[in-house]
Amino acid sequence: MTTESTASHSHSSPDDGEVVSHIASTRRHVIVLLGLLMFTALTVGAYNINLGDWNLAAAVIISTCKSALVVWFFMELKDDVAFNRVIFLGAVIFMGLFMAYTMNDTRYRNIVDAYNGGRIDPRTGELANGTAAGIVAQGGELGPLPTLPAGEADGEPAQE
C-alpha cells in the first residue's frame, strides 16, 4: 500500500454529499404550505361528506400526498442523494410489509375452521374462555347504551 497526501481524495467516495445545500426559494416553501393546508381542508371536507367504504382510502391517500409534499420539498429529498431516498422508501415498504403480513393473519383467522381463531362459538354463541370479563358480562361487543337523566338526553341532536 502506498500513501499520498490526503487532500487528493476528498471526493473519492461516491456518496459524498454537497456541502452547499440547494437553497430553495421562500416562494416554493409558501406554495408547499398552501398545498398542505388545502389538502387538510380536503380531508376534513371528505369527512363531512360520507364516502362509505372509501373514507379510509380517501384519508390515507390524502395523507400520503401531504407527507409526500413534506418529504419531497420540506425535507428536500428532491435534491438529496439517491441512497437517502432508498432509506426512506425502504422504511415505508417495511412498514407496509409489517402491516400486510400481520393482517393476512388477523383478517382470515376463522375461515378454514369456523372455530379456529374465532372468538365466539359459532353454534352456541358462547365466548371463548379467557375473554375479557367486561365482554362476558355484557354478552358481546356491544353493551347497552346508558340511560341518561331525562334533562341531559334531550339536548342531543337525536334525529338521524
Binding site: G17, E18, V30, T43, A46, V60, I62, V92, L142, G143
Partner: protein
Amino acid sequence: MSTDAHGNSKFLQHHYDTPAQQFGAAKLGMWLFLAQELLFFSGLFVAYGVYRSWYPDAWVVGSHLLDYRMGTANTCVLLLSSFTAVMAVRSAQTGNQKATGNFLLATIFLAGCFMVVKYFEYHHKFEVGYLPGQHFAPHGEGLVEIVAAARETGVNGVPFHLRTFFGLYFVMTGIHGLHVLVGMFVMGWMWNRNRKGEFSKRYSTPVEMTALYWHLVDIIWIFLFPLLYLID
C-alpha cells in the same frame, strides 16, 4: 484538507477529510434515524389497523368522541410549524442569523400551541373518564357524549373496545406528543447555538438535521389526524 485556509476546521471533526463528507454522513445518519422512527411508529399503526378491522363500531364511536375541530386546528398549527422550520433552515443556509433565531422561536411557539391544544383535549377525556384500557370508565358528560356519538353513527350500544380505541389513542398521540416535546427542546438548543453564532453559510448542518426530525414529527401527525379523528 483537515486544516484548510477557509476556516473549515472550526467545525470539521478530526476523522473527516472534507466538510462534504461530514455533511453527507450527518444527513445519511439522520435519514437512518428517521427510518428507525418510522418503524417505531409502525407498530402502533399495525395495532391500529388490526383492531380497527376487528372492531369497526368501537372505532367509529371513538372517533366521534374526539373533537375533530381541535384536531384540524392542531394539524394546521403543525403544518405551519413545518413551514417555519424549513424557513429557519433557509435562513441559516443564507447566513441570516437573526431570521434563523426568529423562525426557530416561531417553530417552538407553534409546537407549544400544539401541546396546549393537546392538553385541553387530554384534560377533557380524563374528566369524563375516557381513559385507556382497564381504566376506561366514562361518567357524567362522557356518557352523554357516547350516547350522542352512538346515535350519530348508528351503533346500537356501547362498544366494549372503545377502551382499546382510547388506549391506542393515548399511546399514539402520547408518543407523538413526546416527540414534539423533544423537538421543542432540541430547537431551543439550536436557538441558543444560533444566538452564539455557531452557524453560518458554510455550516448549518445541526439546524437542517433538527428540521428533518421536525418534519417527520409532522408527517406522523398527518397520518394520525384522519386515522383517529375522521372516521365515519
